[in-house]
Amino acid sequence: MSIEFIYPEFEVIRNENKCISCRICEQQCANEAHSYDEKHKIMMCDDSKCVNCQRCVSFCPKRALKIVKSDCTLRENANWSNETIKEIYKQANSGGVLLSSMGNPKPFPVYWDKILINASQVTNPSIDPLREPMETRVYLGKKPSKVQRTKDGALDCKLPPQLELSMPVMFSAMSYGSISYNAHKSLALAATELGILYNTGEGGLHEDFYCYGENTVVQVASGRFGVHADYLKAGAAIEIKIGQGAKPGIGGHLPGAKIVGDISRTRMIPEGSDAISPAPHHDIYSIEDLRQLVFSLKEATEYKKPVIVKVAAVHNIAAIASGIARSGADIIAIDGFRGGTGAAPTRIRDHVGIPIELALAAVDQRLRNEGIRNHVSLVVGGSIRSAADVVKAIALGADACYVATAALLALGCHLCRTCQSGKCNWGIATQRPELVKRLNPAMGSERLINLMTAWKHEIKEFMGGMGINSIEALRGNRLMLRGIGLTEKELEILHISHAGE
């Protein structure tokens, strides 16, 4: 060993009494942590290769395995934590920028967990969602400011294009390339069955998935991968990706090694060539420029599709959103700093951006104050973990939520946070055929449908409890929320009262 040695983060513990040397763990681990010693007829393992994805644990027929966090620690220090020191070692060893995946793991406040929801008692009856109709359907898009009539006095029912969702949730952008074909197929099948939408991300749309177009948001990012007229027309909506919560202000970069076969075809770039999404769209330097991209997309699709502009939640988000609302966009999607990612520089992921709860509250309030809230729908993500988060987001002013990490968990992701390695043992963040086929799209979509159906029931129960039978009546209804353990300033920004008030 040497100065470069870093003690493994996890230890693979095998119960020798239970293990039957069936070698299933060895087959299941693409990181090659397990091996079989032919000579001594025993299973071996290399802890340094384990990323704690729990695949072998889940598949060991004898429950002989567990993965534990190593208790070999450096000398404790509140300022210089284990993690901080190891990161220094990694950089001193390599000279590289630290690269991580999935959302911000730091212990920043999760405001969802400091907000409580109201319920009716005595004065306003609650509603039983099992027996009474409950509307969770939402329509995303521009809403007119007033009732319009035609010349002969009839109601003018012509609305700008709207997206109809059976519940206020969509699967957010994950590109084909960052996740697998089978993961995309699972999302597409589930979105179609659920009457919601999934999002192609910036890697183009695989030809096999054009048939799910009505339930697809097609994304246009700075790299414009796979963007052409048929692609734009294939989706139900077009999303311009300006930023992403996990890496605001940073472009994307899918290494050439991952640009193979169908990925290259779908992105329409040569195999082996890096897919670089520059940090900015080089034709957008102002709200006027954004307006130009919005309208060029509308022109190319004959004004039939709503245009979403997705931005990361950053410091001046309210003013930015106000600009976007005036750019002609139909929907603004805001991604909070806990949003997931297939790969992001660790420092950016952990230190840039702001929580979605504060961003949402600030944006909704600003758009209301300016009288333009109806010009756009608001979709928020990063990170929405449960039906409770959805209900709180709606009450804070969102029209719908974007969900990605929760959807991946439903597909089997165990949040090992090593998507960037391309060796996802659960067949999600990988392009290796033998790993991809571990995820069965029929089963994956069923699990997504289960998850969303359960959330929908829970949303209805929350609504019933509040005596609200339509999600529209919950939107921006901040009286239904109370803060707990929050400062005056936080309450002011969230525009909610403290519990007990």
Binding site: G96, L98, S273, F295
Partner: protein, 240 residues
């Protein structure tokens, strides 16, 4: 052939007309209307007057001829077809174009050919007759950009920072380019006969479009710039 007088029409109305009937159009009196022919296929459009930004964005397979200057974002994310400009163009022309041709008689502004790509049989080609502004071919991932430097009046053939982040495709600049500073990750050298053969067809087409002589163009040496790697940013990261 249909002639549309667009003096009183906005871009929406122009595109509706183009979409509705026929395939051959002459647009008269164009004055800054944006997005003309965005996403269209199978059209031949001649424009008299100056079209606005994003002319032929997402162009699928149409031919556009402009008998004047054009503005910013010509052929943004173009897929197929041809745009011919008898004048100068503004900034960010051919952003992320993947196929088709943009031939310009005059000069181009900043960021021409930024993030141009190529894919299988699709090789986009941009030829600029005059000079190009700064950031030519930034992030270029494929395709061919040619700058001829005709009538350049002692100006440099490209501005500052050409080829930054280039990781595919080729740029040909007419002349020896000694006064131009290229970034580290590309190689600039005198184009060989073989390399010139690759672009001869495009140059002939350009010359017949704008009445120049190919032989005269090729009488000067060309500098060709290619990236050293398809993966310029590989070494920068360490897994955490």
């Amino acid at each position: 052939m249909q002639t549309i007088d667009v003096a009183d029409l906005d871009y929406k109305a122009i595109n509706e007309t183009l979409r509705e009937a026929g395939s051959d159009f002459i647009i008269e009196g164009c004055c800054g209307q944006k997005f003309i022919a965005a996403g269209m296929s199978d059209k031949n459009v001649t424009i008299n007057g100056i079209p606005g930004n994003a002319l032929g964005a997402y162009l699928n397979n149409a031919n556009i001829t402009v008998n004047a200057n054009a503005q910013d974002a010509v052929g943004d994310t173009m897929n197929e077809g041809k745009i011919l400009i008898h004048g100068n163009i503004g900034d960010a022309a051919g952003y992320a174009m993947r196929g088709g041709k943009i031939y310009v008689q005059g000069n181009a502004g900043y960021r021409a050919g930024i993030h141009m790509k190529a894919y299988e049989e699709k090789i986009p080609v941009m030829i600029i007759g005059g000079c190009a502004g700064s950031f030519l071919g930034e992030y270029q991932a494929g395709g061919v950009i040619i700058v001829l430097g005709l009538h350049k009046d002692n100006k440099r053939i490209v501005g500052n920072f050409p080829c930054t982040g280039m990781h595919g495709g080729k740029i040909f600049l007419r002349g020896n380019c000694e006064n131009i500073h290229f970034p580290k990750q590309v190689t600039a050298r005198c184009a060989s006969e073989g390399e010139l053969d690759e672009i001869r067809e495009y140059l002939s087409e350009y010359c017949s479009d704008f009445c120049y002589s190919v032989d005269e163009l090729l009488s000067e040496p060309f500098t060709v710039i290619t990236p050293d790697s398809k993966n310029p940013y590989k070494q920068m990261y360490v897994a955490n």
